[in-house]
Amino acid sequence: MTAMSALSTNMRQNRGLYGAVILLSIIYLIYNILHPRGFSSAVLIQNANESVAIVFVAMAQTIPVLLGGLDLSVGAVMTLAACIASVLVNGSPLQIVFGMVVTLAAGTAFGLCNGLIVVYGRIQPIIATLATGAIAIGLALFIRPKPGGDIDGDLNWALTNSLWDFVETYGLFDPDAPWFAPVAWIPVPLLIILVFGVCVWLPFRRTVLGRTIYAIGSAEGAAFMSGLPINRAKVAAFTLGGFFASCGGLYLAIQTASGNADITQAGAYTLNSIAAVVLGGTSLLGGMGGAIGSLIGALILRVISFYFRILSIDPLLQPLVEGIVLLAAVSLGAFRVLRVKNRLELFR
């Protein structure tokens, strides 16, 4: 088989993902053209900062969706993690590291509980996570009844600026070294997104557990008949979701240097995560798509909101525009229905 046909097979199978990448490239290019300080490192840094949390939450949502379920607790787990971080991530370097580890561990454990409830409690994911999401918000309010908190200032500065600032803050080496110059402008938040996307999701996708998640969403009966570890894969899916959601929460706390148990914000993040998953080409029926697509989908949602700022459009119009974009994107996926020859199959 030639490389060309392999490439075209790959393109066809990942239409949704490539479509999202092209859409994002176009709208971000136009954004930069319209922006008075477009194509500058400063704009990129600011945009990246504002995108990290929703990107992580969208990646968290992807994995339960691949199973054919929904996780309504991702926004709440992110909020819980942010509140924990706002208490713990300060003090000596060792304390800071400890605080970050505890934050991530708490979110991951929460995801694990979601998975155990879904698998062994035999409760549908959507209702199980609706309940556990409320619990997460409750815990967050308990930890941080009022917005506030204390995050290490250096950490805040280092993680929300360019690589140059990161190196300079911690005095790792001379940030003006000539070999460093070509990469010094890269925003740290962008790097965080890429590192987690590439180093956590891609390897996971290539494990038997990862593949089992796809198999369950695609045809659970066939997965069972093939002897795949169904229960373990479901638990793993929610656990990894909890991990990604807490990554988002940790970054949000560091970025805003505070924690806030905001119920409205948690709900908005959850709903936007579902929108991002769909925009990124993942099927809500399960079995198709991936977290990289959701990463792109989340960025698309973010860039749309940036437009409102530079074009000074009334922000009240934002939900309307986002809704239209989402509807247009999912309509493209509905063409499948036209190819079904036995109409009874539409209802299965």
Binding site: M1, S5, A6, T9, N10, Q13, P203, R206, T207, V208, R211, Y214, A215, G217, S218, A219, G221, A222, A223, F224, M225, S226, G227, L228, G287, M288, V340, K341, N342, R343, L344
Partner: protein, 528 residues
């Protein structure tokens, strides 16, 4: 064959056992019984098969073949009895355990995951690993090697299974089984969806496996396949193992007689000796997606035409095509004066066609289980009890009461959920629902499956009454006794088309089974 294969998954097809062990059966079952909700599926079955043999299992619908296979493959556990592999007693509680013991089954219902690639599917549960992750290259090469072995080089290992045609999927299913290096390979109608060329390939593969001392169990409804491939035949009937014999020791006719022999325990209403009426429902050359291949038949008013044949020969698709469920049906359909197939069930039930279908699966396609009996009865005919946009409660209860009385449905209150009824009464609700539309053409898809004898008799009587009222009835049944007892004519389907039409005294069990196996086309002993 590709030279390089992943080290963790050697592509060996022979288990390498010494051939002189072959006197001991590889698989042995003793006293296996299995019951489903009181119905006997297998009764005290002893069965054995040897290595280096292709062993056919024959039997009519409901003889227990599928249950037997599912027990061997670990899908079902037997109620009693023991299973031995190479003299060791084994017990499989799921398909994975059977696979690891070398027992691999190619099921009729595909076990492939549509959204994953061919290569992913072939080594789905046990892929080659590298650093704990799936080694995609090794997996690709393995898939290539296995596909080459079954001469499917045209299948791209990176293609998604859902993008493949049915026949390619079936070949991938075979590749998946072969890739597990089975010691016992079970093929359950595995050739039914294949092209002629693929069938030849599978024959060659089975021959190779036989040379490699693998045991194969071959379930097929095609006698010519069995004749050609198998060395040993076992006949099942009514949940019992009747006889096992070597190929060539019995004629086709004798084999058919072994398969017959079900005691007929039903009473059927007498058939009228009327003249054949003019055709009301007519269809010619119906074809759809390779499942229907030029089926033609006509049914007159007042006539009950049986649709027979083995499971899955296109009977279900034929009914769905006539009812407007399928898209892209080719051929001509004529109902009364109206030409053309209906485009949807809604169009089918309306004037001028007035067709109704009692579907195969009453729990998903026939009834809305949580809704009330009354709602279910009215589901197809709300327009008859409505005044403007509103349902008239008086008309509604009048219609519901009439339907309940007509079919003698036994119930507490019409407002109870239909799920609370027994199977037989649920089926009556489905039938009553359609009778309320006053249909001219009644399509019945195995309406007596899984219901009690008493209700069956009522349905037989009802069918005759409806025919006498001048309706045209097409009646698919998997029970030959019903076809013989109820029908004025019987059409037998085989491989998507109607291969025989029996009438009068020619409607007998021997003729039906012979035609179902399509024997008269190949064998010298024509039975029709």
């Amino acid at each position: 064959m590709a030279p390089v294969i992943g080290a963790t998954t050697p592509l060996s097809f022979g288990p390498g056992a010494s051939p002189n062990m072959s006197d001991q059966p590889f698989l042995q079952l003793t006293g296996i019984s299995k019951h489903f909700a009181g119905a006997r599926a297998l009764e005290n079955v002893d069965f054995a098969c040897k290595r280096g043999s292709i062993h056919a299992v024959l039997g009519e619908n409901g003889a227990g073949k599928s249950t037997l296979i599912k027990i061997i493959a670990g899908v079902l556990e037997p109620d009693s009895g023991a299973m031995f592999l190479e003299g060791q007693q084994v017990r499989f509680s799921n398909p994975a355990e059977a696979n690891s013991a070398g027992v691999v089954c190619i099921f009729q219902e595909l076990s492939l995951v549509p959204d994953l690639t061919v290569a992913d599917n072939i080594s789905l549960a046990a892929p080659p690993l590298k650093f704990g992750m799936i080694d995609r290259r090794a997996q690709y090469r393995f898939a290539e090697a296995v596909l080459a072995r079954i001469k499917c080089e045209d299948v791209d290992p990176n293609a998604l299974v859902k993008d493949l045609s049915l026949s390619r999927r079936q070949m991938v299913e075979i590749a998946k089984a072969v890739g597990k290096s089975p010691k016992l390979l079970i093929l359950d109608e595995a050739t039914s969806a294949l092209t002629r060329k693929d069938v030849e390939t599978v024959y060659g593969l089975l021959e190779d496996l036989r040379q490699d001392n693998v045991a194969s169990l071959f379930i097929s409804h095609r006698m010519n396949e069995v004749e050609r491939l198998c060395d040993t035949l076992s006949v099942f009937r009514n949940g019992r193992h009747v006889e096992t014999f070597t190929k060539g020791t019995k004629t086709d006719r004798e084999i058919v007689r072994l398969m017959i022999g079900r005691e007929v325990d039903a009473h059927f209403p007498p058939k009228p000796q009327a003249e054949r009426t003019a055709p009301h429902l007519q269809f010619n050359d119906l074809s759809w997606e390779g499942r229907l291949k030029g089926a033609s038949l006509s049914v007159g008013k007042g006539e009950i035409v049986g649709l027979g044949g083995l499971d899955g020969q296109g009977q279900k698709e034929l009914m769905l095509a006539l009812f407007g469920v399928l898209r892209g049906v080719e051929g001509t359909v004529k109902v009364g004066e109206k030409t053309g197939a209906p485009l949807s069930p809604a169009a089918a039930k309306r004037e001028p066609r007035r067709i109704c279908l009692v579907p195969e699966d009453r729990k998903t396609e026939g009834l809305m289980l949580p809704m009330s009996i009354s709602d279910n009865l009215l589901a197809a005919s709300y327009s008859r009890v409505s005044v403007g946009p509103f349902i008239d409660p008086a008309l509604e209860s009048e219609a519901v009461d009439a339907a309940i009385a007509k079919l003698q449905i036994k119930l507490g209150s019409p407002q109870d959920a239909v799920a609370t009824l027994s199977g037989g009464n649920q089926q009556k609700v489905v039938i009553a629902k359609w009778l309320m539309t006053d249909p001219d053409v009644i399509l019945l898809n195995d309406p007596t499956r899984g219901i009690d004898v008493g209700t069956k008799q009522e349905i037989y009587r009802l069918m005759r009454e409806l025919a006498d009222e001048g309706r045209a009835i097409l009646f698919y049944s998997t029970d030959y006794a019903e076809l013989i007892g109820c029908c004025d004519r019987v059409a037998i389907m085989y491989d998507g088309s109607i291969v025989a039409e029996l009438a009068g005294a020619a409607i007998n069990e021997e003729a039906i089974i012979g035609a179902s196996l399509n024997l008269h086309a190949s064998g010298p002993e024509a039975v029709s």
